[in-house]
Amino acid sequence: MGRSNASRNSNNYEIIKEGEKVSEKIKEYPGHALKAEDFKEGKVLTTKWRPNAKYAWSAGIAVSRFLKELKNGKIIARKCNKCGRIMVPPRMFCEWCFKPTDEWVYVKDTGRIVTYSISYISAERGRLEKPMVVAVIAIDGASENMGILHKVEGVDIEEAKAGKLFGMRVKAVWKPPEEREGAITDIMYFKPLEGEG
């Protein structure tokens, strides 16, 4: 489409240079730029619409059970008997063996920080008063490096900045049973495991 010799941007749109005409018939383009006030003051007619884009997102069989077990204060995994991997979060299909996984296995609520990041903004994009450590935690009892993403509290932020949290042993801090609702937030955060370095 368009002129074969035209210069193009990264989206392959033609770049029209100033003073360059696309068509001899169009001397200047009709219409005019609009400002936000023009909409507010009703200078131009508009159509407003809110598409009805509701959805229900299902957690699937494996994660539904995982979340249900969180309500009981337990972390559950799925095992593939062919490769022997214990996977958390659980999945119903082994992507290594291309076969359904075989059994449910409870794992511990302790683990090791595989990697982490320091966040200065909240999920709502507001600035946090205190920076937050978010980590990938390999769960004890599951296969190597199988784990979940969660908050870590009770660590020194300067130590975190210095990169000293890699490999740190941590334990889940659960909400009281009556407050749990079958969500990942039933674990409030992970904290350093006492008595270990």
Binding site: S23, K25, I26, P30, G31, L34, F39, V44, L45, T46, T47, K48, W49, R50, P51, N52, A53, K54, Y55, A56, W57, S58, A59, G60, I61, V63, S64, L67, K68, M92, F93, P100, T101, G182
Partner: protein, 159 residues
């Protein structure tokens, strides 16, 4: 047990969450659309643009002739009467909910013009609708008009 091949037909059968995508938008009508709907809003008149070279009046109006690419500057009042080019009967609304009373939707060509638009037919029984039927626009009262296609309530048969 082979759970992974179990089919889930309804996402609400298992643990789920609801969401609503907020994809609101404001659409401007463009130069030709702006004038077209202003005339409807303020004067309850339907206007088209005329290509003198091709001798065609476009309704809804265009800025350029689709045949000769000439810029169109002649705005012509085309009246509010036209013919039913084709029609369909709707038993459900846009969300798929059953309507209490079926609605007749037609593609209407305004007399003497090229093009046309889709609108509802009123004051007519389903059994009496036919292709080629002459219809005319019924406008809302002036104070209720907002500059939208719904300023025309419906088209009714010309008696």
């Amino acid at each position: 047990m082979n759970m992974s091949i179990e089919k889930i037909r309804d996402p609400r059968d298992i643990k789920h969450r609801f969401g609503d995508m907020e994809a609101d938008y404001i659409y401007t009508l463009g130069v030709a659309g702006e004038r077209f709907f202003r005339e409807i809003k303020e004067n309850a008149k339907i206007f088209g643009t005329k290509c003198t070279k091709c001798n065609i009046i476009y309704v809804p109006p265009r800025m350029y002739c689709e045949r000769c690419f000439e810029e169109l500057k002649d705005w012509i009042e085309v009246g509010s009467k036209g013919t039913v080019h084709t029609f369909t009967i709707a038993y459900v609304d846009e969300n798929g909910n059953r309507l209490e009373k079926p609605e007749i939707w037609a593609f209407i060509k305004i007399h003497g013009t090229e093009g046309g638009f889709i609108h509802k037919l009123g004051e007519v029984d389903i059994e009496d609708v036919c292709i080629g039927m002459e219809v005319e626009a019924v406008f809302k009262e002036k104070e209720q008009r907002t500059g939208s296609i719904t300023d025309i309530l419906y088209f009714k048969p010309v008696k």
